[in-house]
């Protein structure tokens, strides 16, 4: 297996799907001639040309709406938001047109698009550029939401997202783009709705998605080496559909859960997971489910402070130790 970067794993997924299906087209700001602001689409325009890889003006509402309209005719647009934060200027097109058109048409219209891009804090770009909208979008029935933590997952999930016949909101992470991981040569697909137990333990369940999975894994190592606590680390991978069985399974095994989530806490993904465990595994709990989220304020710029606004292994460990 090759050791490749997260961005290149995505890039492979795009290339393979462009080759496989003539309806797949990449659309967004700077995705073509510039190779993508974060080089995720590097080389694709050069290889596949204007038709398959298309630069747009800074008009997110119009180009996402255009993608939705084209998808109604059977195209499979894969649309980059340079930052997922910029979804706010295209929100109506995402929520109402991508999200509701199938329903409002009684199922007559399908919307097989992917909207993708980085959705994370931690890069000192300030509050407007550091939103984590997986809870915003997961809250909308009609949309699917995916979040990938590793190169392997990024590729497999992206291929599934492109082939999926529903609108998939795909959350990447600028801090992960340069991470390397093993990705097989042969084709593979990771279905949406399947969580991945990234570490096996027995004493506590750490449940996370996206970069928080890496935070949880780090915490788990320290818990094991310094506190003799063995943690399950469950990577949700897909927020909606959600692999509730996997969540319940780990909780029923360890009887304790700490949710690690770069979302803010109020109505964040972690709130939903906590409520789920409340509703379905209450009697299995030996302690209340705890949450480690981003500190509940707009993202601070200061490079010295922002890392501490996100969940850290230390905060995770602290919570785990309190539960025990």
């Amino acid at each position: 297996m090759a050791l490749i970067e997260y961005r290149d794993a995505l890039n492979q997924a795009f290339a393979e799907e462009i080759e496989r299906d003539p309806n797949v087209v990449l659309i967004g700001e700077e995705v073509a001639q510039y190779d993508g602001a974060y080089k995720v689409t590097r080389g694709l325009w050069k290889k596949y040309g204007d038709k398959r890889v298309m630069d747009t003006p800074i008009s997110e509402a119009a180009f996402i709406g255009m993608g939705v309209g084209a998808s109604m005719l059977g195209l499979r647009p894969v649309i980059e938001l340079m930052f997922w934060s910029f979804a706010t200027v295209a929100y109506d097109q995402i929520i109402n047109n991508a999200g509701q058109i199938r329903y409002m048409s009684g199922g007559l219209i399908n919307c097989p698009i992917v909207i993708r891009g980085p959705a994370n804090g931690g890069t000192n770009v300030g509050a407007t550029h550091s939103h984590t909208p997986e809870n915003w979008l997961g809250a909308i029935p009609g949309l699917k939401v995916v979040s990938a933590a590793t190169p392997y997952d990024a590729k497999g999930l992206m291929k599934a997202a492109i082939r999926d016949n529903d609108p998939v909101m795909f959350m990447e992470n600028t801090l992960l783009y340069g991470n390397r991981g093993e990705v097989p040569e042969e084709e593979y697909i990771i279905p949406l709705g399947v969580a991945d137990l990234k570490r096996e333990g027995s004493d506590v369940s750490l449940i996370a998605h996206g970069r928080a999975v890496l935070t949880a894994l780090k915490a788990a190592e320290i818990l094991a080496s310094e506190h003799n606590i063995q943690a399950d680390v469950l990577d949700l991978r897909s927020i909606r559909p959600l692999d509730e069985e996997a969540i319940l399974k780990t909780v029923r095994k360890t009887h304790r859960a700490v949710l690690v989530d770069e979302n803010k806490p109020f109505c964040g993904v972690s709130a939903q997971i906590s409520a789920t465990i409340m509703e379905q595994a209450f009697d299995d709990l030996d302690a209340p489910v705890a949450r480690v989220c981003s500190l509940d304020a707009p993202a601070i710029y200061s490079p010295a402070v922002e890392p501490l606004q996100l969940p850290t292994p230390e905060r995770v460990i602290e919570k785990v130790l309190k539960l025990a």
Binding site: A70, S105, G142, V194
Partner: protein, 359 residues
């Protein structure tokens, strides 16, 4: 950029109209009458409490939907806003599924899920019915983009109101249509009011709203929408521009709605607009009366034939109300249908993970 030229002022002589057969002419009239009658029946039953939500009537504007849609070929597509019954019937949707939709019945065109504002018939190249003002304009762009991507010669007709032009997404779309040479035709149905706000109170224009297209080097035309021949002649030029040059157009048709913005709009008569104004439009500018008189003059139709059509259409509309009345409501369980393609079809993807979160 010059206003799109239309050579003749009697649009009956425009190439696209002069070769129309008698049958085709009568069909234009008939389609307008169908829309009006359908809505009159809908209004009656709306007032009788058979429907919920809004009912935005198209009455007074029929010539625009019928004129434009009458030109559509296989690769042409339509999309519009919430005042959508006219376009829906014009593309050939049945009154039954349209009326049943208003009743919220499972037999409605959108299975009772969309209601008045959300009619759809993709099989007839009709993509809705959209409730968010101007939200459909980038979708129209996307239809045009899709047509071009597939290498087809066709156009997307995207309708919007005179109030909708003040949503920014319209200008984003115009720039992109022009930049990428997309065959989209934005049709502004200027009925002079957006709810209770007159055009003058919402929009600054030089000559007209369509002229704003110049900012993006998009061709435009201003035309009188009351004459279905004129609507066709002006639209045809835009279609040719789309087919031959893959270039967009903005057309503004002057028109008028007789009823309130939606049915519950007490102020529309004598409030934000004078009763005399409404009466003047009804008397002097009614697209059905005008076209009927024209066909009588052309001897394309007789008064008796007209009445026969009236009777047929009345029967069709009444029948649609009966059909709607007798149709079943959607079940509560069906609330969860049509949310996800994969779930509906219980594909592998649709069976993996949890999709709905009520306990």
């Amino acid at each position: 950029m010059p206003k799109t030229e239309v050579r003749s002022t009697d649009y009956a002589n425009a190439p696209i109209n002069e070769n129309l057969s008698t049958e085709e002419r009568v069909k234009l009239l008939r389609e307008m009458m169908r829309i009006r009658r359908f809505e009159q029946v809908a209004l009656k039953f709306y007032n009788a409490g058979k429907m919920g939500g809004f009912l935005h009537l198209y009455i007074g504007q029929e010539s625009i939907a019928v004129g434009t849609v009458s030109l559509m070929g296989d690769n042409d597509h339509v999309i519009t806003a919430y005042r959508d019954h006219g376009h829906a019937l014009a593309v050939g949707m049945g009154m039954n599924e349209c009326m049943a939709e208003l009743y919220g019945k499972a037999t409605g065109c959108s299975k009772g899920k969309g209601g008045s504002m959300h009619y759809f018939a993709p099989d007839k190249n009709y993509w809705g019915g959209h409730g968010i003002v101007a939200g459909q304009t980038p979708l129209g762009l996307g239809l045009a983009y899709g047509i071009k991507y597939k290498g087809l010669k066709g156009a997307a007709l995207c309708f919007l109101g005179d109030g909708a032009v003040n949503q920014g997404v319209v200008y984003e779309s115009l720039n992109m249509a022009s930049l990428f040479d997309l065959p989209v035709i934005y049709v502004i149905e200027n009925n002079k009011y957006s709810m209770g706000t007159s055009l003058e109170r919402s929009s600054v224009v030089d000559k007209c709203l369509a002229q704003r297209a110049e900012a993006f080097k998009v061709d435009w035309a201003l035309a009188n929408g009351e004459d279905v021949y004129e609507v066709r002649a002006v639209t045809q030029q835009a279609l040719e521009r789309a087919y031959e040059k893959s270039r967009p157009t903005v057309i503004e048709f002057q028109t008028y709605r007789y009823y309130g913005h939606s049915v519950a709009d007490a102020k529309h008569k004598g409030g934000y607009r004078k009763e005399e104004e409404i009466e003047r439009y009804k008397k002097q500018h009614d697209p059905i009366v005008i076209f009927k008189n024209r066909l009588l003059a052309e001897k394309a139709i007789t008064e008796e034939q007209f009445e026969a059509i009236e009777a047929e259409i009345k029967a069709e509309a009444d029948e649609s109300a009966r059909f709607a009345e007798e149709s079943p409501y959607p079940t509560v369980e069906s609330i969860y249908d049509d949310v996800y393609f994969e779930v509906d079809r219980q594909t592998e993807a649709g069976r993996t993970g949890r999709f709905f979160f009520n306990n």
